[in-house]
């Protein structure tokens, strides 16, 4: 599938890229009214928070929306050592001169892009407070080091994603940050939609196989309370489908894509394998 993102391979490109006319939209299958909500939020330029488990389609949804709204998408994957200069920008030396280099957030603010802070809880809370002034009525970014501030471009929009789960109990967002967002809840899609996703994502997969994979995945998710940190994601199902499509035996494919990555617990792995075998042995 051709997307805006993979047009040029192996070539350095600027992070701010408008989707081109000839591109096909990234595939996304709506589960509910999330598209309408996002469009409404965009119309009013309100910041949006995407909540949901890993691999349920948050990032894909945003790629899709950015394309539909014809806005460039600037993605920042947050991590523990992310500082505010990594977002806003810093001075660099060039010869005897110093040059200011905008960070991704500043670039997005200036260009009117959608800035996506992925897994924002991973970043330290003090580095994320810079977004506060962008997320309320001010829509301003203060560049402290330069002593300047920027009024955001009228098309600029901020989106963050966040995965509530017990492994991040201590890394929750500050309430003051949280309440500045429109929050859209994501979960693993319903059965029929998940099947559609598999068929669309993996060209040439038999509908029957997609049916079995989705059924197995849904059963596997029921084991979440038995010690799985992350449930079997839609992404894992897509991977499994890809492995099968590449010629691997279905049970083996599910094992490497859906079981081995998510647990080291032998009993759990056995239970998961039991589920897979039941669905594919017939």
């Amino acid at each position: 599938m051709k997307t805006a993102v993979n047009r040029l391979r192996g070539v350095e490109r600027d992070i701010v890229q408008l989707p081109l006319a000839g591109d096909t939209a990234p595939y996304y299958e709506p589960q509910g009214n999330e598209v309408a909500i996002f469009e409404a939020a965009y119309k009013k330029r309100l910041p949006v928070m995407l909540k949901g488990p890993t691999g349920c389609g948050k990032t894909r949804f945003l790629e899709h929306m950015a394309f539909q709204l014809k806005r460039p998408l600037v993605t920042v994957s947050c991590h523990e050592d992310l500082t505010s200069s990594d977002l806003v920008g810093r001075f660099l030396l060039e010869g005897a001169e110093t040059v200011w280099q905008d960070g991704p957030l500043t670039r997005a603010v200036k260009a009117g892009a959608i800035c996506y802070l992925d897994e924002i809880v991973e970043a330290r809370t003090d580095s994320t407070v810079v977004i506060h002034s962008l997320t309320d009525h001010r829509r301003k970014l203060t560049i402290e080091k330069k002593g300047m501030e920027i009024e955001a471009h009228e098309d600029f929009m901020l989106v963050i994603s966040y995965n509530p789960g017990y492994q991040t109990v201590l890394k929750d967002l500050k309430p003051s940050t949280k309440q500045r967002f429109i929050a859209i809840n994501f979960d693993f899609p319903p059965e029929d939609i998940e099947r559609k996703i598999l068929v669309n994502e993996v060209a040439g997969i038999a509908p029957e196989l997609a049916h079995q994979l989705v059924a197995a995945g849904r059963k596997a998710r029921l084991l979440k309370d038995h010690g799985l940190e992350e449930a079997t994601s839609t992404r894992a199902l897509v991977y499994a489908a890809n492995m099968i499509n590449a010629g691997l035996d279905p049970v083996a494919a599910c094992q490497v894509a859906m079981i081995n990555p998510i647990t080291d617990d032998i009993e759990l792995a056995e239970a998961l394998l039991e589920i897979v075998q039941a669905h594919f042995a017939a």
Binding site: R90, L93, T98, K145, L170, D225, E274, A282
Partner: protein, 837 residues
């Protein structure tokens, strides 16, 4: 000439015999012609032996003569076994052994051959020489049983350990033999020696106990057998089975280990409509999984549905009790001696009905059942008829499932989604009346008739279940009856305060009312007690509000928390635990050390330090050149970061932690102690601030909060021994404890505060009046308050039913259910590190 004298001698012997016993004479006369075919010499030898044995012991002589005819027929010799028989003359009172010898002789020749027979007799005679009783026992046992169909090698398998044990431990063959044969049949030859050695030890400790052991009747003996029984061990794998049930049926089933032992024949999973009872071991994993799914299928798909059962009993014109457990027996009694036959047919129909429904929940279930059945060993003929019919019925169901083909007349009605157990009964009655299936009398054949995973359905009293829509009307009546039913019935009192409570004298009475508003008079006795206690502590404690959901408001100063020091301490227990878990601790510490570099990550952008922070330097120079005056924080330093996190481990110390673990191996409190201890040791390694506390309660004004270790306190011997002394008492007023723990955090200055609550059941107290929701709601509010004050509560529970209430109390993702209690000690530190990440 010589012939003539032999003849005279023979005649003489015969005369003597005739004088001695006319019965014996007649028997000899019958056998003699056959013996004579081997020649006169042989006949003479044989007659001499008869005479000598008869003189020695009349019984011995008779036994010899009686057994001779068949022995001659099978062996086609006479003198070898005659010689062996004469050996018995060496022991007084050996006629019983000789009798056994003669009875078994033909079979020995038949199954072991001449050489084998010689060895068989040799071993037996040697035992007669050691101890006659053992010889008796040896020869009394049929040769096939002794050899286990493995020829003489099978006999040697038994005899060799027996000889060793006799030499070393004076263990007699007569004590050992019968049990040893069964052990070999169940577990194989290699299991005999360890089994017998253990038995010899027990024998030395006490004769009666030892004998019971060797008869395989004692607990120890059975436990040892179960432990060594080959196959899939359901008792060790019940977590896996629980998970599978959860996955396929989406609900929790009560799994219990049954009292099955190898002696009882084929192992089956059974159900009474409320619980699933699994045997310790089943032959294969497939069979075990099928059996558990099938058993749960019975519960799930209406075998115990009250209305359907009633209809079925009605069809059989048998009374159906309105409440209480129901016996299946009257249903089959009508068929008298043929009850087993009908039971097999009924089970076959009902199992088919259930399995067809199971297939809709569990993909591939029927094909798996079929594959497993086809791979099964051949059955005895009378069982095979049922087995094959069951197989055919499953095949029919498969066809019906795949093609929506027209259903067979016989089993078709059972495949209807609306079919009930009553339909199964009707179909069974129809098949029964056709009278084509053979009678079954033998229990082994009866057992063998079931497909893998299936089993007799009527082994336990049935507990009929109400369907949801029936429940409303009958719920009241049911409630009243249930506690009377059986001792095993759990009462509806707070489960955390179930047993071993040192001061629960008036417990039941207190439950009648709620809080202070009622039941005051009955409580007064206990109350004064409590007050005395509080008085001794010098204060009434710290008051906290409590949330009343019914009035939607806080009750001020409602629950009173007294902070105490745990009086009990047990260093011996601590040392034992330290030893027991030393490997686990080592592993955990290693894991922590491996993570340490991350904790000692360089502090960047420091004002001083031992290294340059290159990024900081660049931006410093850059900003300087840009005309700004940046701070010179351009160093990096490796050092402990300022403490980021403080954690309190709050353990539920209610009575319920004193319960014995269902899987054996001690009590829950042992795991709790071990978990807390490992947690403490790991925290020392990590260096995070932590405290340990426990809580329990009795009424709102008596919530005890035991501070075992404060944030500031080092992990001293004193603290360690207090952990070893942790025990359960009273109930669980969790909200008050959470509020107090939250208050204790005030003194600690860290960025993150974590409250880990270790629990084993729902919040409950004596004065909650049976209204579970009250303390649930209060705990939920306490959690909210804690969050508002910057404390993150996280609950770890071993209550497998916790999914029903913890999500409401702690919120999704803020609790963890450990479905494997034994993993608690290791998991507790691991969970903390995962949370801390």
């Amino acid at each position: 000439m010589e012939d003539a004298s032999r003849q005279t001698e023979i005649q003489g012997l015969l005369h003597e015999l005739k004088d001695a016993s006319s019965v014996a004479y007649r028997e000899v006369e019958q056998v003699l012609p056959a013996i004579r075919t081997h020649g006169e010499d042989t006949a003479l030898g044989w007659l001499l032996a008869c005479r000598r044995l008869f003189d020695f012991d009349r019984e011995a002589g008779k036994a010899f003569i009686r057994g001779s005819r068949e022995a001659e027929q099978v062996s086609e010799t006479v003198l070898p076994w005659t010689g062996q028989a004469l050996e018995f003359l060496r022991w007084r009172g050996s006629w019983r052994a000789l009798e056994g010898f003669m009875v078994n002789l033909p079979r020995a020749y038949g199954s072991l051959g001449h050489a084998g027979e010689r060895r068989w007799a040799e071993i037996g005679l040697a035992w007669c020489a050691r101890q006659l009783e053992s010889g008796n026992a040896y020869f009394a046992i049929p040769v096939v049983d002794l050899s286990g169909r493995q020829g003489i090698a099978g006999i040697e398998q038994l005899a060799t350990p027996a000889e060793e044990l006799f030499e070393s431990r004076k263990l007699l063959l007569s004590t050992y033999l019968a049990g040893a044969i069964r052990v070999r049949n169940l577990l194989g030859a290699q299991a005999i020696l360890p089994w017998a050695l253990r038995g010899a030890d027990i024998m030395q400790a006490g004769r009666a106990r030892g004998e019971a052991y060797f008869r395989l009747e004692s607990e120890e003996s059975l436990a040892l057998l179960l432990e060594h029984l080959p196959g899939f061990r359901l008792s060790d794998r019940n977590r896996l089975l629980g998970m599978l049930l959860d996955v396929w049926y989406g609900e929790h089933f009560d799994l219990k280990e049954s009292t099955w032992s190898p002696e009882k024949g084929r192992p089956f999973v059974e159900t009474d409509g409320r619980s699933l009872f699994f045997p310790a071991v089943m032959p294969t994993r497939d069979e075990a999984v099928l059996a558990v799914l099938h058993g749960a299928g019975h519960m799930r798909f209406g075998t115990f549905d009250r209305l359907a059962m009633k209809e079925m009993f009605g069809a059989a014109s048998v009374d159906f009790p309105d409440s209480g457990p129901v016996s299946w027996v009257p249903l089959f009694m009508r068929y008298g001696d043929d009850a087993l036959r009908f039971q097999l047919i009924f089970d076959l129909c009902e199992d088919l009905r259930v399995d067809f429904r199971v297939q809709h929940s569990v993909p591939n279930y029927l094909p798996r059942l079929l594959a497993s059945a086809r791979a099964a060993t051949p059955r005895p003929p009378e069982a095979a008829a049922y087995f094959d019919l069951a197989l055919a019925s499953v095949e029919e169901a498969m066809v019906a499932m795949r093609a929506h083909a027209p259903r067979g007349r016989q089993f078709g009605p059972l495949l209807d989604p609306g079919a009930t157990v009553a339909d199964a009964y009707r179909v069974a009655a129809a098949i029964y009346s056709n009278d084509e299936l053979p009678r079954v009398t033998d229990l082994e054949a009866f057992h063998a008739a079931y497909l893998p995973g299936r089993g007799p359905n009527a082994t336990r009293l049935a507990h009929p279940q109400q369907r949801q829509d029936q429940q409303q009307t009958q719920a009241g009546a049911e409630q009243q009856h249930e506690p009377d039913e059986q001792g095993e019935e759990q009462s509806e009192t707070p489960q955390n305060a179930e047993s071993g409570d040192q001061q629960d004298g008036g417990k039941r009475k207190e439950l009648a009312g709620f809080g202070d508003t009622s039941g005051t008079s009955t409580q007064s006795g206990n109350r004064s007690d409590a007050q005395k206690q509080a008085g001794a502590a010098g204060e009434k404690g710290v008051p906290y509000p409590e949330w009343d959901y019914r009035e939607q408001r806080y009750k001020r100063n409602w629950s009173w928390v007294q902070e105490k020091k745990l009086a009990e301490s047990n260093m011996a227990e601590t040392n034992r635990l330290e030893n027991q878990y030393s490997n686990a601790l080592k592993r955990l510490k290693k894991a922590i050390q491996a993570q340490k570099p991350a904790r000692l990550a360089p502090l960047l952008r420091q004002m001083d330090g031992d290294d340059m922070d290159i990024n900081a330097v660049v931006s410093y120079v850059a900003e300087k050149q840009a005309g700004r005056s940046p701070k010179p924080n351009i160093y990096r330093r490796r050092e402990l970061r300022q403490r980021e996190i403080a954690v309190t481990l709050l353990a539920d110390m209610s009575t319920s932690i004193m319960q014995h673990l269902p899987e054996g191996g001690g009590r829950l409190v042992d795991r709790v102690r071990a978990g807390v201890l490992l947690f403490a040791e790991c925290m020392e390694e990590v260096g995070d601030a932590y405290s340990i506390a426990g809580f329990c309660s009795k009424y709102r004004d008596n919530v005890s909060y035991y501070t075992i270790k404060d944030f500031e306190q080092p992990l001293s011997e004193d603290v360690r021994s207090q952990i070893g002394g942790m025990s359960g008492r009273l109930a669980t007023r969790m909200g008050a404890a959470i509020r107090h723990a939250t208050a204790c955090f005030e003194a600690v200055d860290t960025r993150r505060r974590l409250l880990l609550i270790l629990s084993d059941g729902r919040p409950e107290d004596y004065d909650d009046g049976g209204d579970r929701r009250y303390l649930h709601e209060d705990t939920r509010m306490a959690v909210k308050e804690a969050v508002a004050r910057g404390v993150h509560p996280f609950c770890i529970t071993v209550d497998t039913m916790a999914n029903q209430y913890l999500p409401q109390i702690f919120g999704k993702g803020h609790y963890l259910v450990l479905d494997h209690i034994n993993s608690l000690p290791n998991k507790l530190p691991e969970i903390y590190f995962r949370l801390r990440r």
